[in-house]
Amino acid sequence: MEVFINSLKMNLFSGFTWDVFCFKKKYLLYNLLTSNLKVRYRQSVLGLFWTLLKPLCMAGFYYFVFNKIMKVTLPNHLMFLLVGIFPWTFFSQTLMEGMESLTSHWGLLSKAPIPLQIFPLVSTLANMVTFFAALPILLGMSLVFTQPTFVLLLVFIYCFLLFLLCYGLALILSVLHVHFRDLKQMMALILQVWFFITPIMYEPSTMPKAYQWILYLNPIAFIFSGFQSVLVKGIPPQFLHFLIAVGWANGLLVLGILLHKYYTKNLVEKL
């Protein structure tokens, strides 16, 4: 067992520090990331604004439907929705872009020796920038509408967990998409279901007892409920829930790294 753990550690750290965090390639990572962001936001002055407008509108619609039409009210309802929908937009965008990050760079990958892990990382980081642009909005609302405490600082830990989880899933999906090209159509459906089984529009405690297991199996459930309790209610999350969130994020990241380490040897030929 100890040998296994040690070899895992060795593998992870050699793979991790050299390839995944791309210490050797950090200049390439920096260049790919800045070019990605420039292309994304250069064409329109309002680029970043448009990206933020979509989740704002979505939250507005849900607020209208639930609060005004169906008369389901929660304290700070609009803010509650925003706190869920901003991370969700980041999450779903990263997954869709990360999934295609290898297949869409086929031309480049077959012409230059570049570590494959760098492209899912670029997708995740580029979307993270948008998410960080939205973070002041969420923090500002939290400061104005609730009684802020030091608990608020936990939000950065949850952001980091969400980042790790997104990167892990992007790594996994990017490899799967090379083999199964119809994954894209399926992901659209999966994300739709995923949105509703995740505590975004409701609190996890309102989930009936019989269905609580769904939350434990959902890798992002306790990250999103963490955002809710930290930003909206201003109370620290249950320790068990926090541990589950950490477990899922790290587990998926390790899985993604191992998948890339052992199953990408001849991947470029198959792109």
Binding site: L28, N31, S35, G107, L108, A112, P113, N266, E269
Partner: protein, 249 residues
């Protein structure tokens, strides 16, 4: 020669596996096929290279020739590590610049100037190395003020000029050049070959894939010819050019 080879290719074979048309790579068809009990995909193997051996020593200028589809580009991709060999071993003992395509990774919405840094990073050059040679790159590319325009406004010749300038102005011991000189006008082709020749004089190792026997005779020290997955000739450029013409006709 007493020195250690800078590139060593030992018993290298490469085969590609292609899935037959009835198994397109989609999850849907995978599930349907699994339901019908067809788990294994019908695949076809294609041997591209078979037991290749050769060595390249520091400072050599080697021309690689062979008809289309004989595995020259595959060999380059194996040498620079994009593909892994099916069997055999490849050792490269110095940093190399892979010029498999000029301007790999160019983004057309960015300016030529921004693309210099992006492309240089993709080729594995550091920021400092790029900055040090920036003036020479700008001068050689003959782009003038166009360098600050988005790449989508460039002609294809201008893009090739920029790509070549970036790739050849930064100090890397080994240069792998794959047929990139087939594009561009005659004047620019000559300028490129002269540039490569001057890099060779400065002590760099150069491996060039080409279909032009005259270029091989004129510039190379040595010529390797491939035919039917095998190395069929390795020696003097003039004889190599003849062997190539024989294998093609």
């Amino acid at each position: 020669m007493n020195t250690k080879p800078i590139i060593q290719v030992e018993n290298v074979s490469k085969k590609f596996t292609y899935t037959a048309e009835r198994m397109p790579n989609s999850l849907k068809s995978y599930v349907i096929n699994a339901l019908h009990g067809r788990f294994a995909s019908k695949s076809r193997e294609i041997h591209v290279l078979n037991n290749i051996n050769f060595e390249i020593y520091p400072g050599e200028f080697v021309g690689i020739m062979g008809r289309n589809g004989v595995g020259k580009s595959t060999l380059f991709k194996l040498i620079c590590g994009i593909y892994t060999p099916t069997s055999g071993k490849i050792e490269v003992r110095a940093p190399l610049a892979p010029l498999l395509e000029l301007g790999a990774g160019f983004l057309f919405d960015l300016s030529g100037y921004e693309n210099i840094f992006l492309n240089a990073a993709i080729l594995g050059y550091s920021r400092q190395a790029t900055l040090n040679t920036l003036d020479q790159i700008l001068e050689f590319s003959e782009l003038g003020d166009m360098i600050y325009m988005p790449l989508k406004n460039y002609s294809s010749g201008m893009i090739v000029r920029l790509g070549f300038s970036i790739a050849t102005h930064i100090d890397v011991p080994i240069l792998l050049v794959d047929e990139i000189l087939a594009v561009g006008d005659a004047g620019f082709q000559k300028k490129c070959l002269d540039k490569i020749q001057s890099l060779h004089k400065a002590g760099r190792t150069i491996v060039l894939i080409t279909h032009n026997p005259e270029a091989v005779k004129q510039h190379c020290d040595r010529c390797i010819v491939f035919s039917n997955q095998n190395k069929v000739f390795d020696g003097k450029p003039t004889d190599g050019a003849n062997a190539y013409l024989e294998s093609v006709c």
